[in-house]
């Protein structure tokens, strides 16, 4: 119901009152436009409402009425500003704020400074309901009712508490007892007959339906699952799409995710606190917890989040098929035969040959394997019987022996001994009379023949008859460190009592030399390389680069194509001369200097001995098939010698027939290791 109508109906409303103030109201409306808490209306309103409004108005109250009534009481209020709706800052510099209704200037009031106003406000308990009206330059204090009204307005409700926005409808028209109908027109015919146009439309529809032009929405059928993979023939059709990479499966849970994990999985309080200090990425995702029974497990709070993270991984992470070789690293290792299959080889010490009074520097085994000669730094050379350990013979040579060597011919029992600058060739007096005769012939030096005959070689070597020991003495001008025998060619031609000098220039100091077991080839080992010379053609065949700092010993395989070089840094190099001039294999086995390396003549064994008091025995199989590389298997570490003066085992030799190893130690012992 509109307020206008209400006015018509209601005779109580004082018309005069309304009319008289009607013009003002609009002005007041304008005034209040800007400042909400303007007192012009609000202060007077409740009072006016109470005065002139009877109760019946309370219900169907409307804002319009209020406006009118509030205006009526406005006249009583002190001078009002009449400048109208102009920007107030126009008056900023003026002493007045505007003009009252009579055209007089309204003076600005003196303002308290900030501190003063603050102090005044602090003391005033009603300060919160004071509002400054800039337009009229005055402070207005809201009454309780006004505050309520403001609050109601803030809540978007009707300002008046008693206002009912949904009143019951009151039908003012009196229906019963009316003499005349509202309309007296007769009922039209169309109310009684079916509509022609409707019928036409129906026919149209019917025809359209019959023709199938109109179709009805069919009830929706849920298309459920069906047998999608009826046959797996889809595999054959080739798609030119990129290959699909299935996502990796999630990690399976471990013990720590159990609801009752072992105690060691549970982090202590300190650990949990320390997690807080970590960066968020480093923090463990899951902290194990312990529940004593299954019913006390709570819902997992991160279930949704983890599922979501998995989803993100599934569609946002690039998938790459890593080409990873699935080879067991164990299978890459060469299959070494077990040590048991490689027997026999020396394993344990059987006999010790005692008797020398100082370190045994060199040993040599007689080709038949019955005798062993040893030279020591106490200046003696001894011959021992291998099987019993009996010392058969002993020479006092008076000088520390560097090296001893047997003649490889089985029926010529001669021993070469190097000491200082001399080489002694001794008759051992072994063998039967006939052999002795031959040896004696061989060893007799024709003194009449001047040793200078052999040309340039005489400058370094002199052949002398040594009567004391019944042998030959060779004088060198330089210290001889090692001697070697060769079956066919002798550098010292014993038969001619002549010495050949090597026609080659040596690069570096020669450390060791050795002969090829079957051909007239000579190996000289210098500190860093091995040179191979053909003695007949007198030229260098090959130079092997060891890559070692200081080679100390060399041995040639009985086959002649392989050789090993031991070095002072404890390394062992195996050369396959058919393969390359670089080591086929380098074994770093000894922590200290290697003193000697040696091959067995018949068994596929080789050994090295070192200053660390250990001797290593290796299996070194050389195949006749050139495509197959030599097989090297470490077999045994032989211990037993003790160190003296920082020197350990000085020499080692294999028995010529048995897989036995003799070692000569700096601890005055010779040991025999048997299988």
């Amino acid at each position: 119901m509109s307020p206008k109508k209400q006015n018509e109906e209601d005779p109580h409303v004082s018309d005069s009152d309304t009319d008289s103030t009607y013009e003002d109201s609009s002005a007041a409306d304008d005034d209040d436009g800007d400042s909400f808490g303007s007192p012009s209306e609000s202060e007077s309103e409740p009072a006016a409402g109470d005065d002139s409004e009877p109760d019946e108005h309370g219900e169907s109250d409307s804002s319009g009425l209020h406006q009118e009534e509030s205006d009526s009481s406005e006249d009583e209020v002190a001078p009002r500003n009449t400048v109208g709706d102009v920007p107030l800052h126009w008056y900023d510099d003026e002493p007045h704020i505007g003009y009252d209704i009579k055209g007089k200037k309204i003076k600005k009031k003196d303002k308290l400074d900030k501190l003063g106003s603050f102090l005044a406000n602090v003391d005033d308990s009603k300060n919160w309901r004071k509002v400054y009206d800039e337009y009229n330059d005055e402070e207005v204090e809201l009454t309780k009712d006004e505050v309520k009204l403001v609050r109601r307005l803030l809540k978007n409700r009707a300002p008046h508490a008693d206002f009912n926005p949904y009143p019951d409808y009151v039908d003012w028209f009196k229906w019963d007892g009316a003499k005349h109908p509202l309309s007296n027109a007769p009922e039209p015919k169309r109310r009684f007959i079916p509509s022609k146009w409707e019928a036409k439309k129906v026919v149209q529809y019917v025809r359209a339906i019959r023709k199938g032009l109109i179709t009805f929405d069919k009830p929706k059928e849920e298309d459920g699952p069906y047998l999608l993979w009826e046959d797996d023939s889809g595999l054959t059709e080739k798609s030119n799409h990129l290959a699909y990479i299935p996502a990796p499966k999630q990690r399976l849970p471990g013990n720590e995710e159990s609801y009752n994990p072992p105690l060691e999985y549970i982090p202590t309080q300190e650990e949990i606190n320390s997690y807080q200090l970590m960066y968020e990425e480093d923090r463990p995702k899951f902290i194990p917890k312990r529940f004593t029974s299954m019913r006390s497990i709570p819902a997992y709070e991160n279930a949704m989040k983890e599922c979501f993270e998995r989803c993100l991984d599934l569609y946002l992470c690039p998938r790459v098929r890593k080409k990873r070789l699935n080879i067991d690293p164990e299978s890459l290792k060469p299959k070494l035969p077990s040590r048991k299959e490689l027997k026999p080889y020396p394993t344990a010490c059987y006999i010790e040959y005692k008797g020398h009074e100082d370190a045994v520097t060199s040993i040599s085994v007689e080709p038949s394997g019955q005798w062993i000669a040893s030279g020591s730094s106490d200046g003696t050379v001894r011959i021992w019987e291998v099987e019993t350990g009996r010392c058969l013979r002993r020479w006092d040579v008076g000088e520390a022996v560097n090296c001893v060597a047997w003649n490889p011919l089985p029926d010529v029992h001669i021993l070469a001994v190097s000491l200082g600058q001399d080489v002694l060739i001794l008759n051992t007096h072994l063998g039967d009379d006939e052999e002795q005769k031959k040896i004696k012939e061989l060893l007799s030096v024709d003194t009449s023949t001047p040793s200078d005959d052999s040309g340039n070689s005489a400058t370094s070597v002199r052949w002398l008859q040594d009567d004391k020991h019944g042998g030959i003495k060779l004088k060198f001008f330089k210290t001889v460190t090692a001697v070697e025998w060769h079956r066919k060619v002798l550098i010292h031609h014993l038969s001619k009592k002549l010495t050949q000098k090597l026609p080659f220039k040596l690069h570096g100091l020669a450390v060791r030399s050795t002969f090829h077991p079957s051909r007239s080839i000579f190996f000289i080992c210098t500190k860093q390389s091995v040179r191979v010379y053909d003695l007949l053609k007198r030229k260098l065949i090959k130079k092997l680069d060891t890559g070692l700092r200081e080679a100390s010993s060399i041995a040639v395989h009985p086959g002649g194509d392989n050789l090993i070089v031991g070095s002072k840094e404890g390394k062992l190099c195996w050369f396959d001369m058919d393969l390359s001039s670089k080591p086929y294999k380098t074994l770093k086995c000894h922590p200290k200097d290697i003193n000697n390396v040696v091959y067995h003549r018949s068994y596929p064994l080789f050994a090295s001995c070192s200053d660390d008091c250990n001797a290593y025995v290796f299996h070194g199989m050389v195949y006749s098939d050139l495509n197959q590389n030599p097989l090297i298997v470490p077999l045994e570490i032989l211990r037993g010698h003790t160190s003296s003066d920082g020197r350990g085992i000085l020499d080692c030799k294999f028995h010529p027939r048995q897989p036995w190893l003799f070692t000569a130690g700096a601890d005055k012992l010779i040991k025999l290791y048997c299988h």
């Binding site: 929405d217 949704m304 569609y315 790459v320």
Partner: protein, 438 residues
């Protein structure tokens, strides 16, 4: 129309290398003429993932897609359907703005629905492929089955119900065919591992408590995944039920369903039908019928009876009935065991002669799944249970709290963990260590 983005290159030189093979995501969006959410959805459905080019020619912070992948998406009919859906949504909006609610309603009903089956077939050409990638699908469906339906989170009740049904169907199959191999109770939930057609499938079911939908997850993404996973599991279930001669979707006993014993209802359905259907439907495969010729007559009656009852159940399922009939007799398994591998036989006979009773407070859903999967018979406290607590033949009662009431001497009282440990060890463990309070 795919318009290739042009880079400058000297005239006469073809584009090659990484720049020719890969496009960034924004380029792909431009080429496909779709927005990012739809692109993401398509990627999820089609299984397209970003690629790592050897050289990231547009910067390391970009995501790259292979040109062929983008073309693969471009040929997807789903793209067209989504465009139609967008048009439809616009029409609905317009109709609603004009207060034409009738039209809006009709349009909403007629909104085209994307079909996923072709995509599933494309992604998993063989059934085994689908089984191999079922892990995430199962975990997600089980998680959604435990979620509260929330309008604000866009998880509607139908989706949750569907997930629950699918999960139960899957579990019923695994339990019925004794394919479960391992179970592990963790804080996150219960992990199960089953072996189906040689594929090891591991999934996680949350504990049967209400999950909380946290705010820091993007439910839309998860729902996109679910849009793929739901039909996938439906198709997989169909195929699996088909393989054991069961009708899919199964018709459930509404009474048990009302008691939230879906799984039990399903397994009863499975048990009842596995024996019924082969002899009736596969009658042309006469050897089966002939082998059972001896007891064919009484059985046939049973079957007829059962059929009618099934139909009845179906009717009741459709009508809201107050008094559901007790249906579906539990028929003892006939000796129709095909060739089963050693593992399955072992699993089947683990709890063979044992009868379990679940007290209050134990994880019922999980145990109802695990114990029958290993051949045990199980009942629980509450309505619809096959036998009562007072049954003398019960061998094990599973309790998680000291029972105040009457204790039967004839049975062992064990914690639920005993079941899981026995299952994983494949032997019946001594119960001493699993007494209540240990």
């Amino acid at each position: 129309m795919v318009k290739a983005v042009k880079h400058y290159r000297p005239p006469g030189k073809k584009k090659e290398g990484n720049a020719a093979k890969f496009v960034t995501r924004s380029q792909a969006l431009k080429q496909l003429q779709i927005n990012l959410p739809l692109f993401r959805k398509l990627c999820i459905l089609k299984g397209v993932t970003p690629r790592e080019p050897k050289k990231k020619f547009k910067g390391t912070h970009q995501t790259y897609y292979h040109v062929k992948d983008v073309a693969f998406l471009h040929h997807e009919p789903l793209l067209e359907i989504h465009r139609e859906i967008r048009v439809h949504e616009r029409k609905i909006k317009k109709a609603e703005a004009k207060k034409n609610l009738e039209r809006a309603k009709r349009l909403r009903e007629k909104t085209p629905k994307p079909k996923i089956d072709r995509i599933i077939r494309q992604r998993y050409p063989r059934f085994v492929d689908a089984l191999g990638e079922l892990d995430d699908c199962l975990s997600m469906v089980h998680l959604f089955a435990a979620l509260p339906a929330a309008e604000s989170k866009k998880i509607d009740i139908e989706c949750v119900h569907k997930c629950r049904r699918l999960a139960h169907e899957w579990q019923a199959f695994i339990s019925r065919t004794h394919k479960l191999r391992k179970a592990f109770v963790s804080v996150k939930g219960i992990y199960y591992q089953a072996e189906v057609e040689g594929q090891k499938i591991t999934w996680l079911t949350p504990h049967s408590l209400q999950q909380v939908v946290s705010d820091d997850v993007d439910v839309i993404t998860m729902l996109n995944f679910l849009q793929l996973y739901e039909p996938l599991l439906g198709f997989v279930n169909f195929r699996l039920y088909h393989s054991i001669n069961l009708k899919y979707p199964p018709i459930l006993d509404p009474r048990l369903e009302a008691l939230a014993a879906d799984l039990y209802a399903l397994s009863r359905y499975a048990n009842a039908n596995v024996n019924a259907i082969p002899s009736v439907v596969n009658s042309e495969a006469s050897q089966v019928a002939e082998s059972e010729q001896g007891d064919a007559k009484p059985k046939r009656d049973d079957i007829e009876h059962e059929k009618s009852e099934l139909r009845l159940a179906q009717l009741q399922h459709q009508l809201p009935t107050n008094e559901p009939g007790a249906l579906m007799q539990l028929v003892e398994e006939a000796a129709s065991e095909e060739e089963e591998d050693q593992d399955t036989r072992e699993c089947k006979n683990l709890f063979k002669d044992l009868k379990f009773f679940l007290s209050r407070e134990v994880p019922r859903e999980s145990l109802l799944f695990v114990i029958p999967a290993f051949g045990g018979i199980v009942s629980w406290e509450g309505e619809g249970a096959p036998f009562q607590e007072s049954d003398q033949s019960i061998t094990h009662q599973i309790v998680d709290r000291d029972a105040q009431g009457h204790k039967f001497l004839s049975r062992e009282y064990v914690q639920p963990q005993w079941v899981f440990d026995s299952v994983n060890a494949r032997i019946i463990l001594p119960t001493v260590d699993y007494m209540v309070g240990r």
